[in-house]
């Protein structure tokens, strides 16, 4: 029998560790990917993702089910990723090298579903352009592109209206288009 997220949360609140493990198994990959979108470094992202679940575990008794569990979890993840990024002293060069490493490893492990886009220069510049976005703009781009969340869900995670999400996405995309004008088709 498969429990819903809310049922698992209630079991966690009753002290059932197995229920929390099940929640982690459901969302660890997604949370990791969102954080990787911000930090662009696998090891740092792994640390922050684990810390995100630890923080969720500590706060889960205060979760009342007002929003969906993953919205609540993503809110913690986004805040932690933004904090980690602010603390990070990475230079653009280190950032780029980290991304290159990610590409190479991915090519060894599995085939890229978008393997027709092997323009390394475009990806490098895209990474740099994303990195230059403000935290708010980066968050909407990541949550929309990686997770495919609706504007309503993104608004719940970031604590803003759907209209604000739409506006932020519009301006974030405009900025990316300007920076990548020479590389986009």
């Amino acid at each position: 029998m498969e429990f819903s997220d809310w049922e698992l949360v209630q079991q966690c609140q009753a002290g059932e560790m197995g229920a929390f493990q099940e929640l982690v198994s459901r969302y660890h990959q997604k949370v990791f990917m969102v954080i990787l979108g911000f930090l662009r470094d696998r090891e740092d992202s792994m640390e922050v993702a684990q810390e995100t679940f630890f923080r969720a575990f500590r706060k889960i008794k205060s979760f009342q089910g007002g929003s969906s569990f993953y919205t609540w979890l993503y809110r913690i993840a986004v805040n932690m990723a933004i904090d980690a990024q602010r603390r990070s002293k990475r230079t653009p060069l280190e950032f780029r090298e980290s991304m290159d490493g990610a590409f190479e490893e991915q090519n060894e492990v599995a085939k890229d579903p978008f393997s027709d886009l092997h323009d390394k220069e475009l990806r490098e510049n895209m990474s740099r352009a994303i990195n230059a976005l403000t935290a708010e703009h980066k968050a909407v781009i990541i949550l929309r592109t990686i997770e495919g969340l609706s504007y309503k869900e993104i608004g719940e995670i970031l604590g803003c209206s759907e209209g604000t999400v739409m506006s932020r996405l519009h301006y974030a995309r405009k900025k990316l288009q300007v920076k990548l004008k020479a590389f986009l088709p």
Binding site: V24, F32, F57, D112
Partner: protein, 181 residues
């Protein structure tokens, strides 16, 4: 009827499928007949494709068991209150969060200075603390004056004995007590 500028603002939301059916239909009809908006749509789709490719090319499948071990270790690890405070301070004092404190600190400093000036004048450092007073004899009768130097450019001379009668008496006293100002 929507203009091209209006369309541009919601084109991304339309491609994301986040508009109401009626709005989406109006935009679809406009874009189909407008070369400029059609070109913008093409560029936006290109950007979206490149964005997805960038994120997905960096994606990595992580092994749950090792991930869970890291979470479990954190849960069971006894963190001292010192560690919690240290983390809180580290997060709280990160420069972006503390940006608000700079103008507040300046305002508090100015308010503090104003308060000291207005209500506690005794606490204010006084330049006159460096002044000095001296008693000098300036004539043959031994009449004394107090010389008060308030600053480098201002010197006040105060005659200590003005009337003749008093002067005589005081002269005697003065001669006895000397320069006892």
């Amino acid at each position: 009827m929507m203009r091209c500028d209006d369309i541009s603002e919601v084109l991304g939301a339309w491609l994301d499928g986040q508009l109401r059916q009626s709005d989406a239909e109006e935009i679809r009809a406009h874009v189909a007949g407008c070369p400029s908006c059609g070109e913008e749509r093409r560029q936006l789709e290109g950007l979206q494709k490149a964005l997805r490719a960038t994120f997905q090319s960096a994606s990595t499948t992580i092994v749950f068991e090792s991930f869970w071990r890291g979470v479990e270790r954190r849960i069971h690890q006894k963190r001292s209150w010192y560690e919690d405070v240290r983390r809180w301070v580290r997060d709280f004092w990160a420069p972006p969060q503390m940006a608000w404190s700079v103008p507040i600190a300046i305002i508090l400093l100015l308010l503090g200075m104003f308060t000291v000036e207005s209500f506690l004048p005794g606490l204010r450092p006084r330049e006159s603390r460096n002044n000095f007073a001296a008693v000098d004899s300036i004539d043959a009768f031994g009449r004394n004056v107090a010389v008060l130097r308030e600053d480098e450019s201002k010197t006040t001379v105060i005659w200590l004995y003005l009337n003749q009668e008093g002067e005589d008496e005081s002269s005697g006293e003065t001669s006895e007590s000397g320069r006892s100002f």
